[in-house]
């Protein structure tokens, strides 16, 4: 059976551009802590909240991302979003590592 597709709302933090996800209490760097949206109403409400935060200048570039649950992990469906989540896949010249957790 195909895994059910859920959504999370994402944005970039205004002050430093880092990728964040909308959670119950605000924005989080950890997708595992993000609010999982399973129906269009929940998604619309979350997007409205996120847009309000964008209007209040906390985040920029708000949109919803498709995710699936894989074991205990929340994983974006599209490669672009997986890369946004975990950082460049090719490493950089310093060390092939995930982005610093700031």
């Amino acid at each position: 059976m195909p895994k059910p597709v859920l959504r999370v709302v994402t944005a970039n933090r205004l002050a430093d551009g880092r990728v964040v996800f909308l959670a119950g209490a605000g924005w989080t760097r950890a997708i595992g802590a993000a609010s999982l949206l399973s129906d269009p109403q929940a998604e619309a409400a979350a997007l409205a909240r996120a847009e309000a935060d964008a209007a209040a200048d906390r985040v920029v570039d708000v949109y919803a991302v498709e995710v699936v649950r894989e074991a205990a992990e929340i994983v974006p469906v599209r490669l672009r979003e997986r890369i946004r989540l975990t950082g460049p896949t090719a490493g950089n010249s310093v060390a092939p590592s995930a982005p610093r957790a700031s």
Partner: protein, 552 residues
């Protein structure tokens, strides 16, 4: 090297203060993202997938050791300890925080650098041959003209809101190392029959969605007319360039749609009207600017270097590096050394802060404190005594900077692609890494010879795939990364746009496909001296298609 005058200094300081204020107001919520975005772009700040990105102009690709050290320091303090050199001879930081950008700009201003006109629909950083002033085949150093163009185009009020971005390149030699014919304007410095300096003028080139080779509008434009003619071109473009469709807004489309003859007539008419006006370049002014680019005080040296020849004989690694990364210099006893930023498995164009500092030190010791950035994402030390090449090579090797592949198959140009860029369809860097890994064997690379592999993650073509002997373009096929291969492109004086060889390949398949193309070339070439490009032009695509897709 060119130094800021009082005016430049005051102006850049003012811009930093202005942007500091704009960032503060943005963070305080006094201006919206919609209002702020054009302001940040005017200061080179983009928003990418993971972070902001800051693009710094390196005019005509020339840097001092002092500037390189400042770039290293900024990379360490405000980024993740590295920077990325691009195909536009710029440097990009991929991880700066917006709150830090004003401080970064202030640090840049201290070493006479900035991010102005690295974005937006204006005249961008003027690029030049990275061997300018030192190449053995050069007629004249093109950088004084690039500097004159830079000064004229900086905040030129008439040309800050063009239909689209506008790129100018200059070279001073018959061999084109600056992809002149893929720019909106390309100027090639030359002499006429009387020995007077001037330019061949190429107009309407570009890459992107609709690649075009520039048309030669003039075989010779006198030196004094440089700015008047440039202004005439910009005026015609500003007036007629399309503003209704961003994909049709570049000068190349105007030249293509109106026809080069009609465009030439309009430009010449405008030029005739302004030629004798204020833009006529006084000879003293050209010589004054040229003095900033005067050659350093080279020591008199014999053409042959015993130290160099002894190292060639004794050290095969040095011999390989010297063969590929050392180019002939104008001045006897000297050489131009290319520092490859393409170690196998590395990220094309990336340099760590430590490496940047090493290069700055080595430039001070061996190259009169001068460094160049090439549009092929490598660095260059332009003034090295042949006697010093063995010591330079040892020091580079210690810093992981002695990759002996300049111009070979693993010297792959790749844009940041989907690992960083919001516009990307597919990744570029991992493809470059895997192709380089496959073709890494030194003897094999040497046997294959000069080969330009160029990879872009989308049709914007920042990785110059159209000009690659083998070009690779990332596309999105139903959510999967997919790669289209083109063959026969060239960014040199024999410029050509690569032709699509056939259906594309998955990320898995593309490495093998490139290897099959390389093997086919080696098998079918007339001999080792027939280059990939020459062989492709003689053979056509058929043998390559057969190797990739089987007999038709």
């Amino acid at each position: 090297m060119y130094r800021y005058d009082e005016f430049d200094r005051a102006f850049v300081a003012e811009r930093v203060a202005q942007f500091r204020d704009q960032v503060a107001r943005r963070l305080a919520g006094e201006i919206s993202e919609e209002q702020f975005k054009p302001l940040r772009l005017q200061n080179g700040v983009y928003l990418q997938l993971h972070s902001y990105m800051l693009r710094i102009a390196i005019p005509y690709g020339t840097l001092s050791s002092r500037q390189m050290r400042a770039l290293a320091g900024i990379g360490r303090r405000f980024d993740k300890g590295y920077g990325h050199f691009t195909t536009r001879q710029n440097l990009q930081y991929h991880w700066p925080a917006l709150v830090d950008v004003p401080d970064i700009l202030a640090a840049l201003a201290e070493v006479e650098m900035h991010c102005i006109q690295t974005s937006g629909n204006c005249i961008r950083n003027v690029t030049a041959d990275h061997f300018a002033g030192v190449a053995a085949d050069e007629i004249c150093d093109p950088r004084p003209y690039a500097e004159i163009l830079r000064q004229w185009s900086s905040l030129h009020p008439e040309f800050l809101f063009l239909p689209r971005k506008f790129k100018v390149a200059v070279t001073g030699a018959p061999s084109d190392r600056a992809a002149l014919r893929f720019h909106d304007i390309g100027y090639e410095v030359k002499r006429d029959a009387s020995g007077a300096l001037g330019f061949a003028v190429f107009v309407g080139g570009g890459m992107g969605r609709t690649p075009m080779i520039a048309r030669k509008l003039r075989d010779f434009l006198p030196e004094a007319d440089l700015l008047a003619y440039t202004e005439a071109i910009l005026r015609v473009y500003n007036l007629h360039g399309r503003r209704d469709n961003k994909y049709k807004a570049r000068l190349k489309i105007l030249v293509h749609e109106a026809g080069p003859e009609a465009i030439r007539e309009e430009i010449e008419a405008e030029f005739a009207a302004i030629r004798e006006g204020v833009l006529r370049l006084p000879d003293e002014e050209v010589r004054r600017i040229a003095a900033y680019f005067a050659p350093p005080a080279y020591a008199r040296r014999p053409a042959r270097s015993a130290a160099f020849e002894a190292a060639l004989a004794a050290d095969p690694a040095f011999a390989r590096w010297a063969k590929n990364n050392v180019a002939p210099h104008k001045v006897a006893g000297h050489a131009i050394a290319t520092i490859s930023l393409k170690p196998v498995g590395g990220v094309p164009g990336d340099a760590t802060a430590d490496q940047m500092e090493t290069v700055a030190d080595l430039a001070e010791r061996y190259s009169f404190g001068e460094i160049r950035v090439s549009h092929e994402q490598n660095l260059v030390l332009p003034h090295v005594a042949r006697d010093d090449l063995p010591a330079l090579h040892r020091a580079l090797a210690d810093a992981g900077l002695a990759t002996a592949n300049a111009g070979l198959a693993t010297d792959i140009v790749a844009c940041p692609g989907l690992d960083y860029c919001t516009l990307a369809n597919a990744r570029s860097i991992p493809i470059a890494q895997r192709i380089a890994g496959r073709l890494a064997d030194a003897a094999r690379q040497q046997a294959v010879g000069p080969l330009k592999i160029r990879i872009s993650g989308c049709i914007n073509a920042c990785g110059h795939h159209h000009a690659g002997h083998i070009g690779i373009l990332g596309v999105d096929r139903k959510g999967e990364e997919f790669y289209q291969i083109t063959l026969g492109g060239s960014g040199a004086e024999d410029a050509a746009i690569g032709e699509i060889v056939g259906r594309g390949f998955s990320g898995e398949e593309v490495v093998g496909a490139v290897e099959a193309i390389v093997d086919t070339y080696v098998a079918k070439r007339a001999g080792p001296s027939e280059s990939f490009l020459a062989a492709y032009r003689r053979l056509g695509p058929a043998p390559f298609k057969e190797a990739l897709y089987g007999a038709a």
